[in-house]
Symmetry: C2
Subunit: 342 residues, 2 copies
């Protein structure tokens, strides 16, 4: 009888687990803000802008340079390289499924994709445009863009509308139908046994205290409100030293509030297998090491090799399907160049 | 009677002109080398490689970075920017219709697209891979590439085959159906009257001594043999000084033969309106100035503003139609990064 109850609890436990985890398949659509409705023409314009290196001062860097949608939505570098070979301070997060996040950038300093898109274009070490007006002036020289802003935004070629178009395109960058999603929708063969074990391990170990929800980036929050955690939570580990994990003060650099020291937006696990190197400074080269680091610095746990392997298998099951897209055709500018050519 | 004959000659002259110019519509297909036949799978592989920044040492530069097929096939810069923000010595020629050229690079140092493709990947200031083996080693880590080389080249992931795949893709980069091509095929409304005048002007002025053939890059030559001209031909002009036109010794840097000093492969006029800035050093910002410079330095002629305007109108009629393409999906590498991440 005792065993019977134990088995029964075991089964209930398992059933309860999937619900309690708040694991969920990726929704078909991300939230769409009321002031930036989607349209095919807007998405097409946003895609052109996303791929257009003329949004950088010298024509060498586009949004796609660091957020490569032909692959992981990142550049697989520790930190990105902007105009003139300058290096940024943090690793480029993936643009895939970023539409589900309720705050953007590692430190959550942008509330929406629209806000986010405005940053790198004007950042002197990223795309290096001197100011918003310079962006507008340049795009206004390109007849195709003028016509498209006319169609999509009633002629208003403003910096806000540049960002709106880019954000609209980014809301189409979703990767549904991962092995995990197929599993959640009933295909119990979709996960390998290692991945299935890993799915339990992340709960048992405690990863899912933060990595919950359909994008594994935390509980559902209102748009604009990030879900932050301290990283490292357990200070002074060897990992912290080796990978300089505490050097960047994270959200504190935005708010200057002591409570925000080393606080970071919890990143998504979606496609995490493809976005090495890892963490805000891209200091950790491989996913298995990233798993070890997180267990130690966030949960004070040393994982066995088997646990790490299973978790990595589970994380690999979160790699989705990347939609086929057309290559954008960037509007022509004839008889001269609009970028700084030197 | 004298006038009658003159008029008659005038008419015959005009008719003879179009034939004598050897102007021709762009052929449907470029030459295909016997040892690199086209196939859909090879073109798809070549396209992935063309767009893949993992062919550069630090993952920041792809073939497409400087030869942007989303636009003019160039970067619209004087000289390109390679890994680490390093600048090259010459302006990136367009990849569009390069398949029709019988020699590649400004100095013709590569006989074929295959030969050309091997250069920039290993050039320390372009893509910066240390050697051929490093390219093979890196691509061999990426399961999708291994499978595709298996399919396309019977498993041989060699540097030669990387180049063959890229060249096969480049042979699909053709821009048919320009206004000029439609005109040559019988649509006499396709050219504006300015462009029609410009078509006559380039003959009258003498530009077509070199810029003949369907790609306006010279008479038909055997593959591997370039058609070269001295630039500047008339030495010592103000333009030469202002734009440093004679500083680079051109083909001499390849052959070290005195006869090759300042000799250059005659570039195509196809899509030239979109490839500013102009010449081997990208020193001339606009097409109208480039036309003036060429008339003066090559033909010792000062053009009127009207002549320049007409020629520019004609050159604009050589902008073709850019085929719609799918965005390539670069094969995944999971759980780590294959590029130098620092």
């Amino acid at each position: 009888m005792k065993y019977g109850i134990s088995v029964l609890f075991g089964i209930f436990g398992l059933i309860a687990t999937e619900a309690a985890l708040a694991f969920d398949a990726l929704p078909d659509q991300p939230p769409i803000p009321a002031d930036n409705p989607m349209s095919a023409a807007k998405v097409a314009l946003g895609k052109q802008l996303f791929f257009d290196p003329r949004l950088s001062v010298n024509g060498t860097v586009s949004c796609n340079s660091c957020h490569n949608v032909m692959s992981s939505g990142t550049d697989n570098r520790s930190v990105s390289v902007g105009v003139g070979g300058q290096k940024g301070g943090r690793s480029a997060p993936t643009v895939w499924n970023a539409a589900f996040l309720t705050a953007q950038f590692w430190d959550g300093r942008a509330a929406t994709l629209e806000d986010q898109a405005k940053g790198p274009i004007l950042n002197p070490i990223e795309m290096g445009m001197p100011n918003e007006q310079a962006v507008i002036d340049r795009l206004s020289k390109i007849p195709g863009y003028v016509a498209q802003f006319d169609e999509v935004f009633g002629g208003k070629l403003s910096y806000d509308n540049v960002a709106k178009a880019i954000a609209a395109y980014e809301r189409t960058l979703l990767t549904p139908n991962s092995a995990f999603d197929r599993y959640m929708k009933g295909d119990k063969e979709a996960l390998s046994s290692a991945a299935e074990r890993g799915m339990k391990t992340v709960r048992d170990v405690g990863c899912t205290a933060c990595h919950t929800g359909p994008d594994f980036a935390g509980p559902k929050m209102p748009m604009g409100q990030g879900f932050y955690q301290k990283f490292p939570t357990f200070a002074g580990t060897e990992y912290e030293k080796k990978y300089r994990l505490a050097d960047d003060l994270g959200r504190y650099t935005v708010t200057k509030s002591d409570g925000d020291r080393n606080m970071w937006r919890v990143p998504s696990w979606r496609n995490v297998a493809l976005t090495a190197p890892y963490f805000h400074n891209g200091s950790v080269a491989t996913l298995d090491e990233a798993v070890r680091v997180m267990a130690k610095t966030q949960l004070d746990k040393n994982l066995s090799d088997r646990q790490v392997k299973d978790i990595v298998a589970f994380l690999n099951s979160l790699t989705g399907e990347f939609p086929e897209q057309t290559l954008p055709r960037l509007p022509d500018y004839a008889n001269g160049s609009v970028v700084e050519t030197d």
